[in-house]
């Protein structure tokens, strides 16, 4: 059922939601941008609708809520191993269509690939998703070509409409609350974009053979392996285990998992000095093919959801979408035997 709200009306809903949930949405971090006097849009906890940034893409994705950049798994005291406690509240995450498609990718890895992940499942089972409608495409977005511009699997949608807010609800339990605080019921369809300025074309018949192409060599010099593309990506989910002990008492410590990047040195290092993919071009190839080729081979859908955040953040102005568009030529190059 769809509803129209005034600002006060929707704030009354958020207030009630906050009793049971932590509400996360894109918020403005003043002065937090890469350049002086620029802001950063990141996920943060909100209490009121005015705090939510509706008209810009968030620089970082929602994934930090489901997979915190640093998450304590266990506490160690002497011989005791104690699981870190779960948050007593669930979470409501406001996110765009591409990001909600990203959740499906996270689920594939964390719920289906091998054992179910205890810590992810514990959070995930208590999360509701509120879709932020996209009234326009942002710079570097290419969701339409990735087929992630629309989605139905939301609990509710929310966007601005004139002075008010419109919401489409799919969560039966919320109906009485929404009806109570809305101005009126109406038919609401979340906005979505139907075209983006940036286009990508993933060639048919892509195979790992494309690894032999020369297109990757250019990234040896251009990429500085900072890993920012991984950290902003809604579907990059790698982590490294990190154990620590407290300096005040070495008998007590904890085990965490912290976000890891396949672009950064050390990612493949094995004990004794071995490592794989030493060149940045090889790392770029590994990342790009994971996003638009081999994830699909394993899980049936492309990992990349076309949010374009990697292109937004790269300090070397390397464009992931440009690279994807070069794959067709690279494939021909390899097939024609022109490869190295």
């Amino acid at each position: 059922m769809g509803y129209l709200f005034t600002q006060d009306g929707i704030n009354a809903v958020l207030e009630r939601w906050a009793d049971d949930y932590l509400i996360y949405a894109p918020v403005r971090m003043a002065g937090g941008g890469a350049f002086s006097d620029t802001d950063s849009i990141r996920y943060g906890q909100v209490r009121r609708v005015e705090e939510i940034v509706f008209d810009q893409k968030s620089n970082y994705s929602f994934k930090e809520i489901l997979l915190p950049l640093s998450q304590t798994l266990f506490f160690f005291t002497e011989d005791e191993v104690k699981e870190a406690e779960a948050s007593p509240k669930g979470a409501i995450i406001l996110l765009r269509s591409c990001d909600l498609h990203g959740v499906k990718r996270l689920d594939e890895i964390y719920l289906k690939n091998g054992f179910e992940d205890f810590f992810y499942q514990r959070l995930r089972s208590n999360v509701k998703f509120v879709l932020l409608g996209c009234q326009k495409a942002f710079d570097n977005c290419f969701c339409v070509d990735m087929q992630t511009n629309t989605i139905d699997s939301y609990d509710a949608s929310l966007e601005q409409s004139g002075d008010g807010y419109v919401l489409d609800n799919r969560c039966a339990g919320w109906e009485p609350l929404l009806a109570e605080h809305s101005l009126k019921q109406l038919d609401v369809r979340p906005s979505h974009v139907t075209e983006t300025r940036v286009r990508v074309e993933i060639p048919d018949g892509l195979s790992i053979e494309v690894a032999k192409s020369k297109i990757w060599d250019e990234y040896d010099g251009r990429c500085i392996n900072c890993g920012r593309c991984n950290f902003v990506c809604p579907t990059c989910t790698c982590f490294t285990m990190q154990d620590i002990f407290y300096t005040d008492n070495g008998k007590v410590g904890e085990r965490r998992r912290v976000a890891a990047s396949c672009m950064v040195d050390g990612y493949t290092d094995v004990a004794g000095g071995g490592s794989y993919r030493k060149k940045n071009g090889e790392r770029m190839r590994f990342r790009v093919l994971h996003k638009v080729y081999d994830f699909k081979e394993r899980f049936g859908c492309h990992m990349c959801v076309g949010c374009g955040r990697c292109d937004d953040i790269c300090p070397e102005y390397i464009s992931f979408s440009h690279c994807v568009n070069k794959l067709g030529g690279a494939l021909k190059e390899v097939k024609n035997g022109a490869a190295k």
Binding site: L73, F74, F76, D79, V81, E83, I109, Y110, N113, G114, F115, E116, D117, F118, F119, Q121, R122, I208, A211, T237, C238, F239, T240, M241, Q242, D243, I244, F245, G250, G253, E254, R255, R257, A260, C262, Y267, T268, D269, V270, A271, G272, G273, G274, Y276, R277, E282, F286, L289, H290, D294, F295, E297, R298
Partner: protein, 264 residues
């Protein structure tokens, strides 16, 4: 409540065998199904976890051969018999001995690579009639680096054993040479039907498989075991992924026809 696969369980160290200064075998209590070539995450609270392959499976215990090369393994080496050790696992696919039965089998191991494949060697040492012929080629850097010294004498009675070192001091009684040198000299009835297992450092595996192919082995009759960084062992952390393959879930043992497609 969902089981937490990250929670390690306690085992007791029953015995420690010292092979070299930096390589010991830890025999720890473990009841449960486990196959040669699978691995455990040895978990040292406050220091970290390291994936260690199973090198021996006994009644109520498993053997883990560990090389002291980092923070976690340093800490493991502080443990003594009777101490307790946390583990998770076993993970990975391991070796299927069925693949090698009633065939001529060649196992080529380099250095600590012998430890994941040792379970297969032991199986056929105990059941020599289940293979049509067996050769073990084991290479180490120097005589000081040889692992499982005591086992070799026993194995020699059950199979053809070639124990070789890359270099030895003058006057040494050890055979000197790379494992690849012995492959063309293998006396096989039919290399086209023989099976091989190759485990060792990446370069050694690459040249050994090339030598085997040249000697007439078919790609589908060669198996290898891969080593990668693994933080979780259960398909989540991503470090071991190669193409669409997770070494921790789909490996570490791969048939060569699959391994050939794994481009790091």
């Amino acid at each position: 409540m969902l089981q937490n696969e990250y929670r390690p369980f306690l085992t007791e160290i029953k015995e420690i065998v010292k092979h070299t200064d930096i390589e010991y075998t830890f025999r720890v209590t473990y009841e449960g199904a486990v196959k040669p070539g699978q691995f455990f995450e040895v978990s040292i609270p406050k220091y970290g976890e390291a994936p260690i392959s199973v090198c021996g499976i006994n009644d109520g215990t498993v053997d883990l051969t560990i090389r002291r090369v980092g923070k976690v393994t340093n800490e493991i080496f502080q443990h003594r018999a009777g101490d307790r050790l946390f583990l998770r696992g076993p993970y990975g696919n391991g070796f299927e001995v069925e693949n090698y039965k009633n065939k001529e089998l060649v196992i080529v191991a380099g250095g600590t690579g012998l430890s994941p494949v040792r379970g297969v060697v032991e199986y056929f040492a105990e059941h020599p009639r289940e293979v049509k012929g067996m050769t073990l080629i084991a290479g180490f850097k120097t005589p000081r680096d040889i692992l499982f010294q005591a086992d070799f004498a026993r194995w020699r009675e059950k199979m053809q054993v070639i124990l070789t070192v890359d270099q030895a001091e003058e006057g040494s009684t050890h055979q000197v040479g790379l494992v690849t040198e012995y492959i063309p000299r293998l006396a096989l009835n039919n290399a086209g039907k023989a099976v091989a297992v190759v485990v060792g450092p990446p370069a050694m595996m690459r040249f050994t498989t090339l030598a085997l192919l040249k000697a007439g082995f078919r790609e589908e009759n060669i198996w290898i075991s891969q080593e990668r960084k693994m933080c979780c062992g259960i398909g989540k952390c991503g470090h071991c992924k190669v193409n669409d393959t997770y070494v921790c879930l789909d490996g570490p043992v791969f048939n060569f026809t699959k391994n050939r497609t794994l481009i790091d």
